[in-house]
Amino acid sequence: MTDRDPELLPLLARARVGMSPTADDVERVHARISASLLRPAGMERGAAASGSVAARALRWTRLRWLALGLGAGGLGGYVAGQAHSSAAPAAVPQVAAAASIRMTEPAPAAPAVAAEQPRGEPPQRTTRAARSDAGAAPKASLRPPPQEGARALDEVAMMQRVNRALARGEAAWALSLLRQLDLELPRGRLLEERAAGAAIARCLLDAAVGESELAGYAERFPGSVHLPRVSQICTRVDRQ
């Protein structure tokens, strides 16, 4: 339920996009803030709980749904809100150009979770890494290293922020967060979710790329659980 005036919504929705910071704005201000604040040792995050391979796989499956939140209607609020406007938000030129960046393919992920084997990972690497894990700590070989659990939580938390940004219509911001995630956590597990979020953000920013974004996503992730939602946003924007 919104208190916004529906008569002003089309103009103000576009103005909001145009008044939002670009990725360069974010980087610049963040660098200034970082320089002006103390930087002691990083805050330690607790390690994720250990568990069996199957339990981790199940947790990852739930996390994948949770992370992007598309199934939970996190993006639905934005889409419903935009149903009042008669046309798609216009492109922000700087970010639209930057949005043509291809998401970098993360390096093969840590091999511990067999059920969530990343696509294209060479089997030798998995086997070798698994053997080295086993060799290093045979009794604890099924326990994920603390960093892996922390990185998993970081990735999920970041994807939730991406989802909230998309739900608020902050598509450029969502792309910034995804680029940040690519830089900080190239060995992520939520490949489909990242790519879906990026495709949706680019479609929201530029209606003209809807068809190509959908085709690109479908080619990379045929049968993805997020494909219907990507299709809904990218073709809906296209039709308007």
Partner: protein, 194 residues
């Protein structure tokens, strides 16, 4: 680096020791980096909407988050972040206006800046042009009405949230919003925008 040669948003986490907690217990608020990541666009847009010029946006948004960092320990658990953030950025913007006499001239210049030609319905405007129109018209609203308008119409906060953030009775917030809408539409009509 993207294919336009622009830098990526490279985060070097501002790892901060938590500000001293009164209770000595665990953090009762999100980490600072998370607050920045989540709410920086909101702060940026509100500063623009309150009349901070493009040239000063970097300084002002930096100042806001430095204050946020300093006052994070005072944030009551469970308190909504955006109204709290708005209170801080509002003070920063007010101090900025008081300290910079030329800011009045900027506001006037912004208000008089020619609007892009209206070649079609408003809903077909590019985001950049729409932003220029709205940024030019907002200063024409009386300040207390502009705040309510900005937070409800641009940022999507509910009127009760805005009333709480600004310390207003609910009816006063609704009244200011109604008047602000009328003023904005009148300004839009005066500018010749369809």
């Amino acid at each position: 680096m993207d294919d336009q040669g622009r830098g990526q948003f490279r985060v070097e986490p501002v790892s901060l020791h938590p500000s001293p907690q009164r209770s000595g217990g665990p953090l009762s608020h999100p980490p600072f980096t998370e607050i920045f990541q989540e709410h920086f666009p909101f702060v940026w847009r509100c500063l623009r909407g309150l009349g901070v010029s493009a040239a000063d946006l970097d300084d002002m948004s930096q100042e806001v988050f430095v204050v946020v960092h300093r006052r994070l320990a005072d944030l009551e658990p469970g308190r909504e972040l955006r109204p709290w953030l708005y209170g801080i950025l509002r003070l920063v913007a007010q101090n900025h206006r008081r300290g910079r006499q030329r800011s009045q001239q900027r506001h006037h210049a912004l208000a008089c800046e020619p609007l892009p030609p209206a070649e079609g319905p408003l809903d077909s405007l590019q985001a950049r042009d729409a932003a220029r129109i709205v940024s030019a018209l907002l200063p024409e609203l009386e300040e207390t009405r502009r705040e309510v308008f900005l937070l409800v119409e641009l940022e999507g906060l509910s009127v009760p949230e805005v009333a709480s953030a600004l310390g207003l009775p609910l009816n006063t917030a609704y009244s200011r919003l109604r008047l602000a809408r009328a003023d904005f539409k009148a300004a839009l009509a005066r500018r010749g925008a369809p």
